[in-house]
Amino acid sequence: MPPLAVPNGFRQAKGGDSNIVTVNVGGQIFQTTKQTLTLAGAKSLFSRVSESNSVPFIDRDPELFSIILSLLRTGNLPSKAKAFDLQDLISESQFYGVETLILNSLSNPSQFDAFNLEKSLILPLNGRDSPSAISTTPFGSVHVAHGSKITSFDWSLRRKSTILTQFPAVDSLLSISPSLAAAGATDFSGLQILDLENGSVKESLNWENVTKSSSTVQAIGSSPEFLFASFESGRRNSNSILVYDLQTLNSVMEIGQNEIYGAQIDSAIPASKLSWVSSYSLLMASGSHSGIQGVSGNVKFWDIRSGSVVWELKEKVDCFSDITVSDNLSGIFKVGVNSSEVSFADLRKMGAEDPWLCLGDKRKAVNGKKEGVGCKIESQGNQVFCSKGGDLELWSEVLMGSSKKSKDGLDDRVFRKNLMGRVKDMGGSKITNLGFGGNKMFVTRKDQQYVEVWQSSARVF
């Protein structure tokens, strides 16, 4: 908060170093303090205004300026801002160089409130392709791959742009900077770094595999420093995870190269999901495949520095349909392909033989049906979100005042679930993607050419 300028203002005699700044915007006089203007940052137009010793004139709309000034004073948009389109305010804030203030006030990740998410917006996509992959950025812009196209929505979700890729259909998408995204497909060779502004391919990365065939991308992940890509050879008999430097895009190392000899298919399942576990500095790579004896898979935790597996989980009974890791909860969560129940494994017990603790009905694990096929699970903040068909479950930990200690000295943890949304939001087509960015959750559904946005209604501009 800027300090009050009253004492200086009363004195006034000092003239030049008075704390009060007067500006004339489009014919209207505004008065504020130097402190308020410095909140706009050194790069903004305001930093120069406060240096002036006469009344500077800014040739812009005064009404919009008054909103920007309120934003500077309080950090929040005043309610009178609703008389304008958000796009007006954004372009005006870009002129003054204070767009981050609007962004912070409207789409800050710290405002994410899992218990208060409501289905609030639909982002329509042109054409007839349904979204195949989505990728979000921390401030809530979202890139949607549908067919061979990628449509990007800005953080305000007011503007979009669409590019055409070489891929027949994009299967994996990960945004790596505001204008760059890594994209790959399971039927088209190479990992491409795409410029989302003009649609050009900045870099095309390939895995030089021993079979000299094409290399398709099964999954993309990233850490603050690295970009990870899980490649499979076109003949599907070898796979590997490549680590690239996120800045230079140079290949740094190759981990977990597998080749299939004979019938040992289980030994070489390509990773279909790559998640970075920042609190342990480990890469979680998981993959599964369906065979005659049911679905089997594995989860491996890689130490990138040494290139070795720290912990490997073999999934034989009730293999995961999808799996996620939560740094805040220090655990991994899976939804079982047979049971469709959520299970939890504590990362603090890393190395345990059978770490899974089923959070739902334990008896369903062995029923042999495949109820959990297509279920998605993602974590954000202190919560875990799991889709079952068209419904969304929200899992959260209940912190108990007194709890039993289990035999290894750690607390027994309690997780409870809720169904998300109002009655009218329940059901619907099967959920195909979940993403989180800013204070929003993004949901796509099978055969629907749009993205659903869930956010706290208090934050809807």
Binding site: G26, L45, F57, I58, D59, P168, S200, S214
Partner: protein, 545 residues
């Protein structure tokens, strides 16, 4: 008469030798305004405005810093500066800079206001007797080069009229025009429906600014860049089957029911003349009707068809409106010799492309013929079924389009529904390259070529195909299919995508597709009006709270 503008108790000075302002005065007279302009010598020169938003922003910054510099050099700062101007519009005060109002163009009304000289350090505001709210929208437009959301309180026409009054129409035009048209990201924004006999029989969007002329039931209606209806004229024709805009105000029409090529002047709605195909030496040449029209920089091409199917293409000189030559007179006694139903001019190659397609009980047949305009010779021709070593025997084309920018022919095959491409520079026995696409969601749609109507049109390096009611786009993207050289040997892939949604295709069979400006116009069988497709940067979110 009441003076419109006051300046320090003088009447505003306007340079009446300026033709643009002259026009504006005329406009005001037409609109019934009382206008009164006095003359006073003005010593200021005109400034030119720039229109790119980046440069505008830079200019605004530099203007700002310039101001600061002035203040720093003048140790005694004053509140008023010579490059600032106060306006009183309808009682509301506005303050802006001269460079902002001059950015509207050197001959706008606002720029004219700024050309006054005053030595009064504290001049009273210039009074303009117009609505202040709409002025504030236009001032925002000049300042930021974008329309603020408050502009939605006014209709597009109000804004356009008011911008015309201030002489900043081109500014408004660039701010209101849609972004470059991209088939992979387009949606229907409106449907133009003429008030009566709304089934369009022909239309042209060739002017390139997004305006369109629609022929319907013997009338022609014109819609401007804003898609605002500007005029409808009734012609003497009962039906108009082809239309070409050869000059900004001149339409050339062809009709199924009346012989000849008809010229109409749109500005006064008058019939200007008719060109007939006659030949005193051949009695079979009579009552020749026009089936297709195209035009080049200096010629009009029209295909004429006689009752006994004698046909040819006449070349009409644009400067004299006389018939300059006759291309390819033929008897019309077989599918290879019928009249061309479509004419396209390729400016870069000086080639005229004529195509004819007939659909009968035994499938489609037709030809494509290329004439050299100077010599009148046929440069290349192909007919299907039959000629050349076609790899697709029995799969003759249902429609042909020419990409004039890329000098490429595209055909849509009648049975397989495939898209064939031929480079005009490398035409030969079988120049066709058949495009493959691997869009998994479109796998089962290609066979749809045989059923229903297929139409094809090229626009902005994209190929649009209407199959029945569905609209798809083939776009080019740089790259190679898994490292393998693609069909044409160049580094391009063609990607096929739907433009429309499933519900769009239920509106009717697509009859004609044409691009103009940054719009795509689509007409459908037995559907009134013409659909307008545009791309947009707006995400068009729908609230479901």
């Amino acid at each position: 008469m009441k003076p419109l503008l006051f300046l320090d108790n003088y009447h505003i000075t306007l340079d009446c030798t300026n033709p643009y302002l002259q026009f504006h005065r005329d406009f005001r007279k037409r609109q019934g305004y009382n206008s009164h302009f006095c003359h006073r010598k003005s010593s200021s020169s005109c400034y030119c405005g720039s229109s790119s938003s980046q440069s505008l922003r830079n200019r605004q910054f530099s203007r700002y810093f310039h101001l600061m510099g002035d203040e720093n050099s003048n140790s005694a700062p004053g509140p008023h500066h010579n490059d600032r101007i106060k306006l009183n519009v309808g009682g509301k005060l506005f303050e802006t800079t001269l460079s902002t109002i001059q950015s509207g163009g050197s001959d706008s009304l606002l720029a004219a206001l700024s050309n006054r000289t005053t030595h009064d350090p504290n001049p009273s505001p210039v009074f303009i007797d117009r609505d202040p709210e709409i002025f504030s929208v236009l001032l925002s437009l000049l300042r930021s080069n974008r329309l603020p959301s408050t502009s939605r309180r006014f209709s597009k026409q109000e804004l356009a009229d008011e911008a015309l009054y201030y002489g900043i129409e081109s500014h408004l035009k660039s701010a209101m025009s849609p972004p470059p048209f991209s088939g992979i990201d387009a949606s229907v924004v409106s449907t133009i429906r003429p008030a009566s006999e709304g089934l369009p029989s022909a239309f042209t969007a060739a002017s390139g600014d997004g305006s369109i002329w629609i022929a319907h039931g013997g009338q022609i209606s014109s819609y401007d860049w804003n898609l605002y209806h500007t005029a409808t004229i009734r012609t003497h024709l009962e039906d108009i089957t082809s239309i070409c805009r050869v000059w900004p105000e001149i339409a050339v029409l062809g009709s199924e029911s009346a012989a000849g090529l008809h010229f109409y002047n749109f500005s006064d709605g008058r019939h200007v003349g008719t060109t007939q195909w006659t030949d005193p030496t051949d009695t079979r040449i009579y009552k020749a009707r026009v089936t297709a029209i195209a035009d080049s920089q200096d010629s009009i091409f029209a295909s004429f068809d006689c009752p006994h199917k004698e046909n040819c293409v006449l070349v009409i000189d644009k400067s004299t409106l006389q018939i300059a030559s006759e291309l390819g007179r033929q008897s019309g006694n077989s599918a290879k010799h019928i009249v061309p139903g479509k004419l396209t001019w390729i400016p870069e190659k000086n080639l005229l492309v004529g195509t004819a397609v007939t659909g009968g009980a035994f499938g489609y047949s037709g030809y494509i013929r290329l004439w050299d305009a100077r010599s009148g010779n046929v440069v290349w021709e192909t007919s299907e079924p039959g000629s050349g070593r076609s790899s697709r025997f029995g799969d003759s084309f249902a429609d042909v389009a020419v990409d004039t920018d890329e000098s490429t022919l595209y055909k849509i095959c009648s049975k397989s529904g495939d898209l064939g491409m031929a480079d005009v520079r490398k035409l030969g026995d079988d120049p066709w390259v058949y495009l493959k696409d691997r869009n998994p969601s479109m796998r089962n749609t290609t066979s749809g070529g045989g059923e229903g109507n297929s139409v094809i049109q090229c626009y902005k390096k994209q190929v649009f195909v209407g199959r029945g009611g569905g609209l798809e786009v083939w776009s080019r993207v740089e790259g190679r299919e898994n490292g393998v050289e693609n069909e044409s040997g160049e580094g391009f892939l063609h990607r096929r995508n739907y433009v429309d949604k499933v519900e769009d295709c239920e509106r009717g069979i697509i009859m004609r597709i044409e691009g103009g400006g940054d719009r795509l116009f689509v007409s459908r069988e037995n559907v009134e009006g013409i659909e307008v497709w545009e791309s947009s940067h707006s995400s068009a979110t729908v609230s479901v709270l």
